[in-house]
Amino acid sequence: MKRTAIVGCGQTDHNGNRFDVTGVELIQEAVSRALQDAELTLDDIDGVVIGNMDHFEGINGVELWSISGNGGILKPTIKLTTGGTTGSTLAIGGYHLTASGLFNKLLVIGWEKNSESDTTGAITTAFDPVWDRLVFAGAISGLAVEASAYMRKFGVTEKDAARAVVRDRKHAVKNPHAHLRREVTLDEVLRAPLLSDPIKALDICPRTDGACAVIFANEDYAEKICPKPAWVLGAANRHPYAYLGDVEWYPLKSLDLAAKELYAKLGIKEPLKEINLMELYTPYSFANLSWIEALGLAKPGEGAKLIWDGVTDAGGALPINLSGGVLSTNPIGATGLIRAAECAHQIMGRAGERQAEGVKKALSTGFGGCFWSDILIYGSEKPS
């Protein structure tokens, strides 16, 4: 197996609607920016992996439909899609395929144009047709149920969750790619219209049009392409359930198990101290509290304290979601890959105004499906 790294990333200017472009043109925008970032041309690329959410744009063969924008003309072109975790599965796919040595330089693309469909209607088609679809479906209510159970178990409040929204939205102001770039106050979050108790409009991610492209290269090429490649140290994932009723709500079992596996593999004992930055697929406010407990950053019920203490703010000991996170931008099929791109750019020192200092280790996650989790850890040092 070859060591492998991210050597270039490109993102579109994400927005609530990008009517100025078709999906293919949106994808092309991200791809050309990634090539530019890596100072490569399409001739350098061995293959293309692309993914988005099934049904979201009503186009079922996106790998072929988007070929003139995805750079795959006359190259091996593959589609990977796993629902909400699509973006992080794409990152793991890029890692696996280049680590195998069968691809040396691989272009990986995640994208979504949420403006083109009814997101909740499309998500419903991911659930079992004779059971969940009829009685419990859509993204928001599943998360609301998780939040209610978490609040009751630990006495966590809506205000605690609102503090995490304030953090992510504040970070987004410095990210030129972010969709929502206006700060919000605790009060605004708490007074926003109720969507599904206890989730209010500002507790949940927006629907975004956007694409992200990431170039992976293995050890034979990475350092020739990029002066400071973001090495992939490892990845883990857990896709445990198909029915919502089977989900174990606390701690988020899939993330808990994936994190334990990866920390053990990399010898990480105190993630809060050993990891410098995280980009988490936290699509709603409460996830920023309870899921960092699953990641081992705080004891059960104590995630909120970490948030209030500013540990995860820009300038804190472990900044989380310096990009503004998913609460500011959510082009679903791209979202997990954006997390990877943000970690990589932080390690490369190319994160612009949102750059953190001395990022040696970064962690990204993906979330989706039936409470599935993916996790990747990146490092500035070439693994031995």
Binding site: T22, I67, S68, D118
Partner: protein
């Protein structure tokens, strides 16, 4: 004892609104308002795309030189579908692969006022525009043999 197997009929109905983007919108507006067919040239490989593309998929550079193509073109191949499909707008439609004069790429469209006997590969065809045009590819009703 046999088990009664139940089925659950349903229908997936998700509304979509697809943007044509700026490039194709310009093409469709010219079709709707001026009954003109536009193509676009890749500055690198010089290929003329009709319908137009914002970027050339091979060269990966932006195309910006617009030009009028057609409206007549050459029939590169054709067929008639004699089976019934909900995707067909009429029964036994003719489909033609057409390359407009001045373009390097071809596209499929319907053929009308015709029969299998009179169609030949290589004949010239020209578009028949719809009276009420909405800015879609069906603003061309069909192509027919050019006189």
């Amino acid at each position: 004892m046999t088990t009664e197997i139940l089925t659950h009929p349903s229908r997936i109905k998700v509304p979509y609104t697809w943007s044509a983007g700026e490039t194709l919108s310009r093409f469709f507006k010219a079709l709707r308002d001026e009954q003109k067919i536009l193509g676009i040239r890749c500055p690198r490989c010089q290929k003329v795309y009709a319908p137009p593309k914002k970027t050339c998929g091979t060269c990966f550079v932006e195309c910006s030189e617009w030009l009028e193509v057609g409206p007549s073109g050459t029939l590169l191949s054709f067929t008639q579908a004699s089976y019934v499909s909900p995707a067909h707008r009429s029964s036994k439609p003719f489909f033609g692969l057409i390359r407009l004069d001045g373009a390097d790429t071809a596209f499929f469209h319907l053929l009308g006022e015709t029969n299998l006997q009179s169609l030949k590969i290589g004949i010239k065809v020209s578009p028949v525009f719809a009276e009420k045009r909405t800015g879609s590819i069906l603003d061309i009703l069909y192509f027919r043999a050019a006189n």
